[in-house]
């Protein structure tokens, strides 16, 4: 049937792209993870867990804390944009909050490095305000620095999605609650948030996956041990040419994100049905 052939021909480019740039490299990397010399085995994984199990936990904890903070701040900003009663403050906030979205991760890392260091901008300001003495200062260039950089960079993205969902809510559902005497905090938590929970979940999951794959920020801010898996993968390849362990580490972070992706898929299936 020529019509069917034509249809097949039309999807072929897209199919080829996926095959060539997604399936094949993924398969190669998965196979590579099990390759030990000229046989297959779990040696790479054993080595990964041996050397980097604390980094796996470190990565998961950092990304989880960041995701939670991003969620809370995005709810606060989105809530104020939706329920705020001072139109000028709302306009200023609406204009301001998106900027970090347009700054690349590497620049965020660099900015945070100069800002959060022991004698960085933040501590200098605190000292000049008399809040800290030079002896009391500590650098934030450890896990805290990574969390701050992630939250700063990813919050606008989640807020953008969340504020959009909040803005498209039926305003009268908010007014109805106000009419019955609900405070703005209660309206946000009991009326607005449950109606946009799906969007928030999607935003947070996408953010989670993005943060799992960022290399520049841990390299810039926290190039010591423990560090994030992405830094370890880069190190295995650049310093040792050890593709086997790098592939194994890649697969482990893939499994970590897969758990979250599963929630996303479940949610989108539920939404479509």
């Amino acid at each position: 049937m020529p019509k069917r052939l034509l249809a097949l021909l039309l999807v072929l480019p897209a199919l080829a792209m996926i095959l060539l740039f997604f399936i094949v490299p993924l398969a190669a990397s998965i196979i590579g993870a099990f390759e030990v010399g000229d046989r297959f085995g779990l040696d790479n994984f054993a080595k990964s867990f041996d050397l980097y199990s604390s980094d796996m936990i470190f990565t998961l904890v950092i990304v989880a804390i960041s995701t939670a903070l991003i969620g809370i701040i995005a709810i606060a900003i989105g809530g104020y944009l939706t329920l705020g009663e001072n139109p000028r403050a709302v306009a200023v906030l609406r204009w301001l909050y998106r900027w970090p979205m347009f700054i690349p991760f590497i620049v965020v890392g660099q900015v945070m490095r100069t800002f959060l260091a022991k004698n960085g901008l933040m501590n200098n300001v605190l000292i000049s305000l008399g809040i800290l003495t030079p002896l009391q200062t500590t650098g934030f260039l450890d896990w805290r620095g990574i969390v701050i950089a992630f939250v700063w960079k990813q919050t606008p993205f989640v807020t953008l999605l969340l504020a959009g969902a909040m803005a498209s809510l039926d305003r009268s559902t908010i007014e109805a609650a106000r009419n019955l005497g609900a405070s703005r905090m209660r309206i946000l938590i009991e009326i607005v948030l449950p109606q946009v929970a799906g969007t928030l979940l999607v935003g947070l999951i996408l953010s989670f996956v993005t943060m799992m794959s960022v290399l520049s920020v841990p390299l810039m801010i926290n190039a010591q041990s423990p560090t994030m898996l992405t830094a370890d993968i880069a190190f295995r390849i650049n310093a040792h040419g050890d593709y086997g362990v790098a592939n194994a580490l890649g697969m482990i972070s893939l499994l970590l994100t897969a758990g979250v992706a599963l929630i996303y898929l479940r949610h989108s299936v539920k939404e479509r049905s």
């Binding site: 007014e175 019955l180 449950p194 109606q195």
Partner: protein, 359 residues
């Protein structure tokens, strides 16, 4: 108004940005009264309701309830509950949670809330639906949940913003009577915004007709229907047939000059505020009657007689509706039997159904 004013709106002006929606508006409503705000879209009726409810801030004027100035109070401190056009039910809550939310906010005990919610469900015929979500209800049921949510907190004043406009035509007819009898039973003061003339007539004690941010006329349904105070009200209340003539007013009589389509007619002034000069005549299709040209009938005293030709006949149900050509104008006239197309006829409009205004 014989009843003492319970809800009072004085010199109210409301605007959004640069445009004023309401200007210097006064309205007073008695306790237990059902008032309909009637007007076409954009006339300011919803803005007036939202200002009374506290969702829109007036630029001038005051709203008071039982002598207490509530102009600056938030919506929940006014003793009013609003039923929204879209119902505004919370989709993530069950029917019972929706109805009970206002009570929960008031900090009532769980037992008390449950009792009141059951009471409301029984009152509104929602028994057994308490655990459903709004998405699983029909339009009429949702509307009743919205009503139950508003009534559960026992408000002094119930505000209804076109609550029937999202319902099927048939359900709408029954819900009209349901809301009206519920309001009577509870003795609650109600303000109902609508653009549906019949709905306002059937439901309200008093109709307030609004146009371009002002009140055109207010009165009982019979009043505004039979004694429209302006051409706008007459047209809005269904007197769509429009003719212009020359008139001379003398004492209690109005003399309508002879024209190409009508002989000179003298009709009673009936308290109308009309002066000599060009006038605008309005009447309803069902108020006029048709007579064969040859037939020897003299119109009743004060009635207007017009000569014309039947242009088309339709049957909307119950009677035949004729489009009648009068020169280059066309009017609609109902009759119990059909007249032939092209037939020359006489149209009689009785004095009481003739609305005359200075053009």
């Amino acid at each position: 108004m014989t009843r003492q004013a319970f809800l009072k709106v004085e010199n109210l002006s409301v605007g959004y940005g640069g445009t004023t929606v309401l200007t210097d508006l006064d309205l007073s409503i008695g306790k237990g009264e059902f008032v309909a705000l009637l007007g076409s879209s954009g006339c300011g009726k919803t803005t007036l309701l939202r200002t009374i409810a506290g969702f829109a801030k007036p630029s001038a004027g005051a709203v008071s309830v039982a002598g207490r100035d509530v102009t600056q109070l938030p919506p929940d401190k006014r003793g009013m509950a609003l039923v929204f056009q879209s119902y505004a039910l919370w989709p993530h809550m069950t029917v019972a949670q929706n109805i009970g939310y206002g009570l929960k906010l008031q900090g009532r005990s769980r037992g008390e809330i449950e009792k009141r919610v059951t009471e409301m469900q029984a009152l509104l015929g929602l028994g057994g639906l308490g655990s459903r979500k709004p998405g699983q209800l029909s339009g009429g049921q949702r509307q009743r949940v919205a009503l139950g949510r508003a009534l559960a907190i026992d408000p002094e004043i119930l505000l209804l913003d076109e609550p029937l406009s999202n319902l099927d035509a048939r359900i709408r007819l029954t819900v009209r009577h349901e809301i009206r009898s519920l309001q009577k039973r509870l003795g609650i003061t109600a303000i109902h915004v609508t653009h549906d003339r019949e709905e306002a007539m059937v439901m309200a004690d008093r109709i307030v007709i609004m146009n371009a941010g002002r009140i055109e006329q207010q009165g009982t349904p019979e009043d505004v229907y039979n004694r429209p105070a302006s051409p706008f009200v007459a047209a809005f209340m269904g007197a769509e047939n429009l003719l212009t003539m020359q008139a001379r007013v003398s004492g209690e009589h109005i003399e309508l000059m002879e024209s190409a389509m009508s002989p000179p007619t003298v009709t009673g002034r009936g308290g109308r505020d009309v002066t000599s000069g060009p006038v605008e005549l309005r009447f309803r299709a069902e108020a006029a009657s048709l007579v064969r040209n040859g037939e020897k009938t003299t119109p009743a005293a004060g009635a207007l007689e017009l000569r014309g030709q039947v242009a088309s006949v339709t049957y909307p149900g119950g009677h035949w509706r004729h489009a009648v050509h009068l020169g280059n104008q066309e009017i609609l006239v109902d009759a119990d039997r059909p007249f032939d197309q092209g037939e020359t006829v006489k149209v009689h409009v009785p004095e009481s159904s003739l609305f005359i205004f200075n053009a």
